[in-house]
Symmetry: D3
Subunit: 252 residues, 6 copies
């Protein structure tokens, strides 16, 4: 089984390799996981605008990876930027987003989950994400750690401390019984163990859980429904099918 | 009052001018409406992928127009591509989308509205649009006319016939009491009068209604809430504020 | 365009003229706005009972105004008393209520709006109003200022102070990103500017916003759906149509 | 225990006495049920306008009956006109509406109930009624029999035939497992037995079920919550309390 | 009319007789109420597991009581354990649960009710109960008194004090306007009067209210819909109908 | 990793071994899957009553299996009988139900899933299941194949034909884009391939998908939240903890 983890923003090669290493350590025997990053994109994704910015290059990358024979792709951002669009463009490859997938995993574990987000107002994004995933009824809310994504890796202890504070708020104010890490940078810092220890709650890491659920779905032969995510009409026209690159043009 | 209508896809200059003429005819005395099109974008928008494709260039155009002194902008596609993102980037300009605005206008007129769409599976898009607009409870459903966007202008009579058939289905099968035109190309063909005549129902044209409601909101001094659509954190950082163009890069 | 603003309760003529002056100042060139008050009705509307009391005389006044040639009527109370009933009775005149209309305007501007109410328990009224308007999902809640309607005009400073306090509660406790003035007396005191200044949030004034949106709808040729608000069956009977005054009688 | 059944529209005395006889036959030993009709009101209630018309006189009558020592009152129209308003005005008397009460009774019996309505578009009324009652999730829908209220008593057989047809539609098209008679005139024709026989479904008669549930509630010492339906602020003011008749005036 | 109150867990005979005495005191003249307890079952019901444990023996008891000629049965636990299952097995006997019935009674009295629970995490149980009853929209929440069921009878004063504290939290934090006793042991301690006195809110006692509503429903000839709660297919097979005891077996 | 598949009803040993063989074929290298059946229980589960009947013995079996060192258990019935109760009783073992798990898997693949059920009225069960799983918004509906569970294995061709008919109804009448097999007997007949071929939709087999997702969750170290499914209070009492078998007794 071949799975590609798509990095939808600019990321240093070293960090891509580090994440690839973690993913490979989580993968089952027989699963090949590769990390592929876009050539152009946002520096990090902390707003809806940056989510949108990430889509075109990520979609092109996904289509290329399907042609290279991957069975599945993971859109490597907790906001699932462009997930539906990428599913429209692919024909057989199973495409999953760590946002929806980790929300649905949390729904398997409890009745009310809270999402820990780094900085910035992602509350509405997370609510829309829960609606798109179909589990709005179980979303207790979002709690911000008040830390910019790009600084989280600088001080591991400070980051963990902020996570614990946010988790306690999620429990006390929102009645959360399950936690979801709402950011891939956080996910790859992999504090789930410490957080579970400290809170006594299951902590869904979107990186590991999405990888393992993707493996599970591919093993079952399951991919997103083409009835739900059909090819763009222009690509599906049997008379004059076009390639996805022909959907976009520049004014002369 | 200065309003700009942003065309988020490639469109012949002649058609831009035709639409500008219609908008100017609808505008109140004292309102200047201009049509501005992106330099690059999708040829038409019939899928979620094409919606996403449209956002980056449209957002850049919106920011430029705010700097040029426009009071308001309309994102000229019935799917409101990137509406929240564009609202994040602008500081004072009021940005509206004909999708949400026409849905909310329909909610002012009846209890159950149906959306007429050209071709392709936009059902989920329209449901998400209704959720983002906040009027999900009044969305009766979407009915497809079964016509590609790009061919609708070729035969006006055939297009009207398809619209009537779709409208009758919306009434008979969904109990719709109000209709919304779910496509800007259709909107600028301006069949609302014929359709109202034939069905006896109010027909919300997203082009005219969004223009008039935008005028109303600007006249009231109302623009989208920055608490709801905050600047991306990187742009809001008082220490080292960045320009929106600096949020995106290319790998060297 | 001729719009009539219906005052559904007893109001001194001087205050009617003052409001008419404000409405005329807000109106577009070419719009004639007149204020017409009922001959009998409640002294103010602070309970559901007083809302009901207001309906019969207001409905009679609306029908008379349609016969006089008005294009649109606004039911001048933030609770929209009898809005659906008045829409049933009118045949072409567009009837709007500042309650539903300002809620829908707020939905155009943000994700969660709060309603500022004077005194008394209007929470359930506002929730039903949001349901009738179709935007329940965006109603964050109601906050009472703790001031009787009839005393609000006595001390402008005290009233503004209470509004600011209520607004802060709406933000802190309900996460509101948009405010709606939930009372027409407050609306015509016109504190929206000060409130926007102090809170940084958009403040929807139901008087000005409903006037401007009504102008917009009439300009688009849009009126409430007769499929949603049909004539009472007795009036619609083609055999023996009755006048609306014949629907009511007194025991001899 | 003394219960008054309030007739909110004009009704011949003979019919009032006939209904009183039926109610007395249904009542438990020890319950006194009286029928009291308004002096002025609509001839029948088939529209939202007529519902509103009925409220002022019915509310006055309810207050008078509380003063006369009744323990409970039933607002004798299936649309519960002004129920919340009447509950605001009364201090101890338990006020119930056959609309909400029969909907809640139906919710005790099955998962999806349908409402049989005589003529006219009461669909939205019934949905709002279900929302006010709190059982929207169990309302399968409304089916019209296509008969004017005032003609239902003329031909009992034809009326029953229409009811059976409507019931079959409710089962086949809406999956209803429980039926509610949505009109008091129908309720007092008392076809519930025949309808149950023919459909095999429980049929909630709003006349008998509301009477019996009112008896049950009064026996338990339960009346509507004054926290939910508080006195109008003007009446509750400890400084200068006013009588409910002083809430309304006429312009001199 | 014969009603049986089924005790679904082990209960000392003396306590069964005490409850029977209270039920008989509440019953109308002409109603015979008997208490019948299972031979085996949980000692008390404070978890979902104990709810499930109670069902098989209670269902057998219910079927036996139908054969003995009872008109109605009440499943004597506030969680309505197995209510739907018991309704499936009975053919004519009306089966009600004090959980759903008291929730629906509360919905008749106000807009937001809170449930007072003894100890343990019943929040999700109560939410599912509200969903099964169909009144989720009116459930404000659950408040725990922090007292084990089995110790509540030891110190009446301490129990009342805890109830008052929990009630105040329900009002202050959840905006409850109506209270429901969420435990039958509490219900038969019968503090409703004191609690109403202290809070000014209606307090629904599930023991008395379910008895009286059951009387009301039986008097109206109403029993749960067999379309909603059909016989298990094996019992309904006209070819080879089986007895309900034949649905279960032991491996040899 | 050790996973036990619990059979909650009586099942011939041969069939248990057949299912064990299929589960082992689906399992990853390194996963040990065993099938364990209860000693007593229903013959099959086609009603809510039979679901309840299955719980006590299944819960006892689950506790025994946790003591034997299993990492996870699957409650082998598509209705997830007693899932919450079993989760309360276990301390570390991860317990999943194929009902909720397959519904959540379907939510990962599309926007509207339909459940294929054998015979009998499981519609309400499936809706409650979707609510418990948290994905109600994506449940399109249930379609019955009209075949008793116990006869499905007799004629494979007839069973497949019925499944195809039901699937077509799910697409045409409910707009389903994803299918879920709603019965474990059907699941182990394993028609998913044929059904996907014939319909073009993803078909979630609850047997294979729940096994693979359970493997994924265990690999991530995730088990249901004890905050959501706490031990029954009697078992958690630090003073006098009791064994789960002590929660139930027999009258002497």
């Amino acid at each position: 089984m071949k799975i590609v983890y798509l990095v939808p923003g600019l990321m240093p090669d070293e960090e891509c390799r580090r994440r690839e290493g973690m993913l490979r350590a989580w993968a089952a025997p027989g699963t090949q996981v590769d990390v592929a990053a876009v050539d152009e994109g946002p520096f990090s994704i902390e707003s809806q605008y940056e989510e949108y910015l990430a889509v075109p290059a990520t979609a092109r990358l996904a289509v290329r990876k399907e042609r290279e024979g991957y069975d599945a792709a993971i859109v490597g951002c907790a906001g699932d930027p462009g997930l539906e669009a990428i599913r429209e463009l692919t024909r057989n490859m199973a495409v999953f987003g760590p946002g929806a997938t980790s929300f649905l995993a949390a729904a398997m574990l409890g009745n009310r989950f809270a999402v820990l987000t780094p900085e910035g107002e992602m509350t509405q994004s997370n609510q829309l994400l829960a609606i798109r995933a179909g589990v709005r009824d179980k979303l207790a809310g979002s709690v911000s750690m008040g830390l910019p994504v790009l600084s989280m890796m600088d001080d591991r202890d400070a980051t963990l401390k902020r996570m614990l504070e946010a988790s306690r708020r999620a429990v006390a104010e929102m009645g959360a019984d399950t936690l979801v890490i709402g950011c891939m940078t956080l996910a790859f810092l992999d504090f789930s163990g410490e957080l579970e220890q400290a809170t006594g709650l299951p902590v869904v890491n979107p990186a590991s859980s999405t990888l393992k659920i993707t493996e599970a779905m591919v093993a079952c032969g399951l991919a997103p429904s083409k009835a739900a995510f059909p090819l763009p009409p222009k690509m599906a026209d049997p008379q004059k099918p076009v390639d996805f690159t022909q959907l976009y043009g520049r004014r002369e």
